[in-house]
């Protein structure tokens, strides 16, 4: 803690979309309160902090560090190791840091395929020379290095020890502020394994007000072809809502407005593999009757892996890496 009694705080953005940084601002006028209780010592997204400054701190100098995004390259790995050493409490903030998030879906493809898509195939790319980023390039002023690309997106816990995990894509602002306030007040211990906070200890179903009629799914639907009945459980209506296999905390935001839960808070409490959770549940819910119908219904699902593991592939049992096997 600083001499002025304020927390020393850091925020970092690795392999993620940046929404998490913005979500920190979503706390609204509480940002002024934040300024009252914390000094921001590192937040590259908002000001020009240098790694060297951080490296100069004593170990454990930062009280609190919000790290969002997974680890995709060597720079991110270096920074997370650095911040781990310099932070008393390291928080994996947001689903990318917690479970890999959307970027981890790339683990289903090899590095070659990813480069092919990003630097050649992508219709918005103009790369006639066929240039790809190289880790080392000889130039007139010497050797230039860029971070090395790793074959898989890793969640934070794969690389360093994490004290807390705040899931969500992005985490909900109210919960974020409460968490900061709790940590600032010393109400919670600084280390808690990788305990999940800022979320609910039950699944999204617990927060969802839609009525369960306890009927099985006769037919599967997708949003663009189907208007769900208001007030009735979306999963029972045949939309592949991930709510039952997703940790709560969002207040069932998507189901509330008629959209199926996509699973952004990661696996529900008690489970590690979100896909296994929903596959187990769908076994009980799909009203197939015959084997042929079962196979038909399963075949209708457009992208099971992308649907069931959209946010948590890096936490799945099989995880998958890119360069060996994976989806072609």
């Amino acid at each position: 803690m600083n001499a002025n009694g304020k927390l020393r705080m850091g925020v970092y953005w690795a392999s993620s979309c940046g929404g998490c940084d913005i979500s920190l601002l979503e706390i609204g006028d509480k940002i002024l309160d934040l300024a009252q209780i914390a000094d921001i010592l590192f937040w590259p997204c908002v000001a020009d902090f240098k790694y060297a400054d951080v490296a100069g701190y004593l170990d454990g100098y930062l009280d609190l560090c919000f790290f969002n995004g997974g680890i995709r390259n060597s720079e991110q790995e270096q920074v997370v190791r650095l911040l781990r050493n310099k932070s008393r409490t390291l928080i994996a903030y947001g689903t990318c840091a917690a479970d890999g998030g959307i970027p981890a879906l790339a683990n289903l493809y090899s590095s070659e395929e990813i480069f092919e898509a990003s630097y050649h195939e992508n219709p918005s790319i103009d790369n006639e020379a066929g240039v790809e980023p190289q880790p080392e390039v000889e130039t007139a002023i010497g050797t230039l290095e860029i971070p090395r690309f790793y074959p898989a997106v890793l969640k934070l816990r794969d690389v360093v020890e994490v004290d807390y995990v705040i899931p969500g894509c992005p985490p909900q602002a109210d919960d974020v502020w409460e968490t900061i306030a709790a940590l600032a007040s010393g109400a919670v211990p600084v280390h808690a394994g990788d305990a999940r906070i800022g979320c609910n200890n039950r699944s999204v179903c617990d927060e969802c007000k839609r009525e369960k009629r306890e009927v099985k799914i006769k037919e599967l639907h997708r949003h663009h072809e189907f208007r769900p009945e208001p007030g009735w459980c979306l999963l029972e209506q045949g939309l592949l809502c991930m709510g039952s296999a997703t940790r709560g905390g969002c207040g069932a935001l998507c189901p509330k407005v008629g959209m199926r839960c996509e699973g952004c808070y990661g696996p529900p409490p008690g489970a590690t593999d979100q896909g296994a959770s929903i596959m187990g549940a769908l076994g009980a819910l799909l009203d197939a009757g015959t084997e042929a119908r079962a196979q038909e219904m399963v075949a209708e699902i457009a992208d099971p892996t992308g649907t069931f593991y959209r946010f948590s592939l890096a936490s799945s049992r099989l995880r998958v890496s890119s360069d060996r096997g994976g989806r072609r």
């Binding site: 680890i71 060597s74 790995e77 190791r81 683990n107 289903l108 090899s110 590095s111 070659e112 480069f115 880790p135 090395r148 690309f149 790793y150 074959p151 898989a152 890793l154 794969d158 690389v159 489970a271 590690t272 593999d273 896909g275 296994a276 959770s277 596959m279 187990g280 769908l282 076994g283 009980a284 799909l286 197939a288 009757g289 015959t290 084997e291 079962a294 196979q295 219904m297 399963v298 075949a299 699902i301 099971p304 892996t305 069931f308 593991y309 890096a314 799945s316 049992r317 099989l318 995880r319 998958v320 890496s321 890119s322 360069d323 060996r324 096997g325 994976g326 989806r327 072609r328």
Partner: protein, 168 residues
Amino acid sequence: MDATELRVEPALDTQTAWEPRIVGFLCLWCSYTGADNAGTARMKYAPNVDIVKVMCSGRIDPDLILTAFAKGADGVMVLGCHVGDCHYISGNHKTMVRMPLLRRVLEDFGIEPERFRHEWVSAAEGEKFSRLVSEMTEQVRELGPLDWKARLKECTGENLGPWGGEHP
């Protein structure tokens, strides 16, 4: 083909030779009893499938199968009562949905379809059981080791610093 014919004659280095490791999740009432049936009839089949018994194939959580692959199985078999003959009325109806679902996911993960087999074996079908086991063993033998543990190391950070992966 007789199962015994399929096996390679013991060579000097069999101590280190790779053998497929396959886990079979079997329901007690039909498939496990079917395996007993094969035993009682002294049918010979490949010794590579190790059985984990559950009361009903409906108990087989996809998580268990994923765990088996993650922890070193080269193949997984799931056997249950035929649809309509479930001791628990419709326990296997859940299996009938879960397994095709899991199969699609496993394919996306890059696990060859031959490594995962889901079949119905009744208590009387000892012959079918022994045939499936030998067939599956040969299929997996042809594919070679899955060795997911090594693959996992790459994406759990075990190899980090210095990073073991190659830059493309």
